[in-house]
């Protein structure tokens, strides 16, 4: 919770400022020295003179005390990681329209398959390296970066999730061809 310490420090009387002297990099003068969250509804009058319009987060200069080099790296990584999700189209043989799933939300095949089965109300069965999904009604396949149709489950999850472009749930009878080497 934000601690309102402005009054304790009697800052109004001293009118302290932050910001580098004569510097162009900090065009906004910050009167408020507390890190304020953009999520806060500014109920306190102290923050009234600030631009509360997101997306720029109001921050205290030089706080938290992390070197700019370090903060750039971390921020870049996060942006990259969170960007847009990884949505791929999913089609199922016989279904009138396609769906979309975000592969980033899942961490493993069982999670994905469970979600697909829920989404399409079908049973996909268990994967085996030798038999593929033989014996089940449906088999999940995907188109990879090279444009080939592959059986879901052969490669490590991370490799799959980064190379999968779209998914297709095939009828078991058709999928037989894919299950063999």
């Amino acid at each position: 919770m934000e601690m309102e310490r402005q009054n304790d420090l009697n800052l109004k009387a001293t009118e302290l400022r932050l910001g580098l002297p004569g510097s162009d990099e900090q065009p906004e003068k910050r009167n408020n020295k507390r890190a304020s969250s953009e999520m806060d509804n500014s109920s306190d009058g102290e923050k009234g003179d600030q631009e509360c319009a997101p997306p720029t987060k109001t921050q205290v200069v030089g706080w938290p005390p992390i070197r700019s080099y370090r903060k750039n790296v971390i921020h870049a990584k996060k942006t990259e990681a969170d960007a847009a999700g990884m949505y791929v189209k999913v089609s199922m043989d016989g279904a009138p329209y396609l769906r979309k799933v975000d592969l980033k939300v899942y961490k493993s095949y069982p999670e994905l398959l469970k979600a697909l089965q829920n989404m399409f109300k079908c049973t996909i069965g268990v994967y085996s390296e030798r038999e593929g999904y033989n014996g089940s009604e449906f088999a999940p396949t995907y188109e990879d970066k090279d444009g080939d149709w592959m059986l879901v489950g052969d490669v490590p999850w991370e490799m799959f999730s980064t190379s999968c472009k779209r998914l297709r749930i095939m009828k078991g009878s058709e999928a037989k061809g894919l299950g063999c080497l």
Binding site: R17, G62, P65, I66, R67, A81, P156, M159
Partner: protein, 655 residues
Amino acid sequence: MAMGKGYARAYYGTEHATAVQRKSSAHLLISGVSNAYTLEVLRVFGNPILQVLKGLSFESAMVPDPKRCNSCKDSASSRDSPEWTRPSPFPDEVLDRVLSLMESHKDRSSVSLVCKDWYNAERWSRSHVFIGNCYSVSPEIVARRFPNIRSVTLKGKPRFSDFNLVPQNWGADICSWLAVFAAAYPFLEELRLKRMAVSDESLEFIATSFPCFKSLSLLSCDGFSTDGLKSMASHCKNLTELDLQENVMDDLGGGWLSCFPENFVTLEVLNFASLNSDVSFDALEALVTRCKSLRVLKVNKTITLEQLQRLLVRAPQLVELGTGSFQQDLMPRVYAELESAFNNCKNLHTLSGLWEANFLYLPVLYVASAGLTFLNLSYACLRSNELANLVAHCPSLRRLWFAVIIVSKTEVLDTVEDKGLEAVGSSCPLLEELRVFPADPFDQDIVHGVTESGFVAVSRGCRRLHYVLYFCRQMSNAAVATIVQNCPDFTHFRLCIMNPGQPDYLTNEPMDEAFGAVVKTCTKLQRLAVSGLLTDLTFEYIGKYAKNLETLSVAFAGSSDLGMQCVLGGCTKLRKLEIRDCPFGNAALLSGLEKYESMRSLWMSACNVTMNGCRLLAKEMPRLNVEVMKDDESDDSQADKILKIASLETARKQM
């Protein structure tokens, strides 16, 4: 050397027959030296280990020369021991020999205070000078006092310049120093600069003015570009070290690496991890191949895993490795080759880099991780379970740095990072240093991150922990008390609760008792950074208990002048004090008058100090550099930022 017959060899903590000089001078090999005189020399430093030498018996002693050292009688500081009142002739050879083994600059300072002869002996024998603040002394004075310097360490800007609190063009330019060094130390070999302003012209000057130049280390410096590196690579024929860390520099391209001549083979340390541009991989591979003494290699993130494998094959002798990007779609064959390359690196003890680490490939490290003592995962951004898996393979770890990121918003948020720390606690019993950087410091949406429970978990498992830097969003007094009880040997305790003025999240009370526990329990504490909601009580505790404290960082804390007064009055060994956004005013500032001369520097910004207070300080203490940095718009009476440096000069020369 023509000495008397008897000599004693003293080994402490080492089986090696060579002189092992540790920082504290605790381990010292004395050979070929008459020990009676050595004892007197060494006793001066009060080093308890060397007192043991007293018990050794010697076969013979040097005949003293009564003509020498009459000036010893007027010693600058009369030591406690009464022996100094009698004339104590001390042959130069003995003193010189002992001094040649002495590297600690603190010990050397002590030596120089004994008497004039010793001052002279010391200054002639010193080859490395450490200047903690470039404005505390002028280069001319340094050159006059120390004629034989080969290596210089210089630190410039106040630490808060890292966080953009110091104006641009503040100073700390190396060029005035270089001009003096070129004349006084033509055989200069090494420069280690921290927070200095360094231009390309200066780098070219170094490269062309010092034919013996070997070692350049630039940490948090600014003002240069890769063009300056080109000069270094092209001209320094004997370069052994090029170490670039966290500098603010212009990366104009990686061509500098190709400037090392083909017959250049001396490189031992190369760290360009902080540069972003591509370098010629062929040039890098060729360089690594021909520099057989290379022991530290830290590449930047443009180097791929496959390229890394090729480099490792060329340099299996590496002791420290910074990888490039650790993410690539690897064919199984290449994966196996990479693992094999790591397996051949038998001497690896430090690992860093690991940008964008794809956790699938981390297992290649396992073959080399048993011997790792320092793992820097700050840029790997691992998830907690990935961290746990990795540290499980690092039982010898002494130092760990990391930052953990949340990738998926569906994860449970409040303890997942702590799980990584729990794993550290159970896997790394030898851990001495831990630095945990925030997941995303500027994302206010994220209220999680590591909590107190992660820290407590580490303290339970890692009893040797003595250095911690911990960023978190919540902490409790009870947790900190537990932590220091588990680990009472802290020398560096830097806790950053990221919301300013945040109280104990369990009790809603100030965090005074937390830091009280730290200073009461950790008697060896040298460095402390406080945070959270703190009243003057914290500073009363600090002043009362933190008798070994040398560095204190304070932000958004305290209630009145009393806080700062307690610290200035109580912390006898205080050397650096940096304060921002605290209610300390002129009374506090002026209470430390006697203290400031023994301190390296004081920084105060956004406090309640006025210009009049600063003027008074400057008037009372003419030997201090008192500098005030003001915002253009603030009113005349307000002193926004003050920096005080104890200095031998009366004014800091502007750039």
